[in-house]
Amino acid sequence: MGVSKKISLTVFGLIMAAGALMWLIQLWRGLILTDMNNAYSWGLYVSALAFFVGNAAGGLVLSSMIYLFGVTALKPFARIGALCAFANVAAAMLIVLPDLGRPFRVLNLLLHPQIMSPLVWDVIVLNLYAGLSLIYLYLLMLPDLAARTGILKKITLPVKDPAGFSDTWARRLAPFSLVAAVGIHVVTAWIFATQGARGWWHTAVMAPDFVAAALASGTAVVMLVAVLCYGTADKFQSAFRIMAIFIATAFFIHIFLMYNDFVIHAWYGTDHARETLAITLQEYGLAHAFEVLAPLAGVVLLLNARVRKTMSGIMAGCLLIIAGIFIHRILLMPAAFNQMPLTLAPLGSQHTLWSVPIASGRYAPPAETFVSHHSYFPTLVEILIFAGVLSFVCALILVAVHQLPVVKEG
């Protein structure tokens, strides 16, 4: 392992340790250490769940493109795809734990699952997908595992033709991987979209939009790791071109679905729809501009063949797309929670929309006991816990690339 890798790993380790420490303190003191309250009851942690689930889409893109649609140019990156999928889906499950008030009771999900809850469906598909990604990674690495020593040699399946076996089973599993991968995005979107109480979420466009955004950011994650591992040599240019076109297509479908929804709601103009749109487009106008313009800039960069020949160009493009989709996930919350579902037109002033305030549940001397608006911003505890899980993803990928035959030499 080179010096730069060691330094990176140390930094990731330190951030993970800081995140773990913050979680311990949060376990001791309670979720009072976050900036959430009774009216604004989900924040960075749940946004991060959606973010990581989306990033896990890359594995699907690679495996189904290679084995279902025959795009063999992407084959060198197949292992990276499976690895990124596993790392991100593991992070998605990890980031839910600090959001729970009683994380030690998480076993209740196994003891008393309530099958009507979309959260139970999500736990099932996320675990399935994590398992499938690991099996996929193993299968793809199989031809190179026998040459290794120690534990890697011991876990190698004794088959006559490892390369053929790997290829056959990767092809057979590809349809299941496709279904499971689409499943994690659709079910995660359903957690929100089923909620009739929240106008911002309650739209049939959320699940397809979730898939589109995930295909953009998930592929960008794989492309980022691929360029870091393999560089920008000529033999990879066709793979980068295919991925860039795929990311661009997914991103434009996402933008189309999002604004399609906005236009329909804005045109009819119910009070609730106007309020949610005003929150997203005015109060969070800068964030909204970023969620659209940053990935757009990233797509423009990646679509340029000259940019794709430079490491920094590809990295910048991918990071802009990932950052934009992250802000998109953050914006799941403000318009959902700052538009009170219970509003009244007071008798005698029928044309005003009055939000019924909710007891905030937390004491702050200058603030009201009952609130109908909260400018949520994550606390240092929330940010460090999120950063810890993000570092976990980076460290896991870094260690796996170093220890396992993920990157083919030569």
Partner: protein, 224 residues
């Protein structure tokens, strides 16, 4: 038997005795309010900022028949009894707060910290205690406890502990305006059913399809 409540807004004087009785009887942690009374149109607590007719609206768990909170709960901690009451098992809740996102009425309260820390933060005097002193279990599920632990969600439980003793909920007994009534909504001859029928009873947010078991009677006269 479907246990329901009727709140007569004509009789409500906006005194908030129900909210206070509820908070005290149910030992609600500092900052938590299962029951609140709002003045539609007001900026703060009592007066409306624009010229309009004033009335008061008490809001707590609506004990919906099609309860989104029951459907989203991944572990069945929030559940519905045979008489339609929505309860929370304090020992099973994992604190994911999905129910709080799902509830359109904003009645669910989370314990962001331990009761003790909360009391200190709110500067309650030392050793000040309040609330029904015994834990209450229904079918071996802990639906009321005088001491709350952090990290679980709570809300109005229709005073399940008092119902077991044949008593009405604290808010009903404490209401000086006699605005609150409980009874069987399945029985067309019950007092509550008659009131809803004869006095144009309505529910909150009927468009959400939650079919609440709490009904309101419209105010006839308003203060201007």
């Amino acid at each position: 038997m479907r246990r329901g409540m009727v709140i007569d807004l004509e009789k409500c004087i906006g005194c908030r005795s129900c909210a206070v009785a509820c908070k005290q009887h149910n030992a609600q942690p500092a900052g938590s309010w299962w029951n609140r009374v709002v003045t539609p149109g007001s900026d703060r607590h009592l007066t409306a900022s624009t010229p309009q007719n004033l009335y008061f609206l008490p809001i707590h768990c609506q004990h919906c028949n099609n309860a989104p909170c029951v459907k989203v709960c991944p572990v069945g901690a929030t559940y519905q009894t045979d008489d339609g009451t929505v309860l929370i098992d304090f020992e099973r809740c994992i604190g994911c707060r999905y129910c709080m996102a799902a509830c359109p009425y904003g009645v669910r309260q989370f314990n962001w910290e331990s009761s003790k820390d909360g009391m200190q933060r709110y500067e309650y005097q030392n050793n000040y205690t309040y609330g029904y002193p015994e834990p209450f279990r229904l079918d071996n599920r802990l639906v009321y406890s005088p001491v709350r632990s952090k990290g679980v969600v709570e809300k109005c439980h229709f005073c399940a502990h008092y119902q077991a003793q044949g008593l009405d909920p604290a808010c009903v007994r404490a209401c000086p305006g006699k605005a609150r009534h409980v009874g069987d909504l399945d029985d067309p001859d019950s007092r509550v059913s008659q009131m809803i029928r004869q006095m144009n009873g309505f529910t909150l947010l009927p468009e959400k399809g939650t079919r609440p078991n709490v009904y309101y009677l419209p105010p006839k006269r308003k203060e201007v």
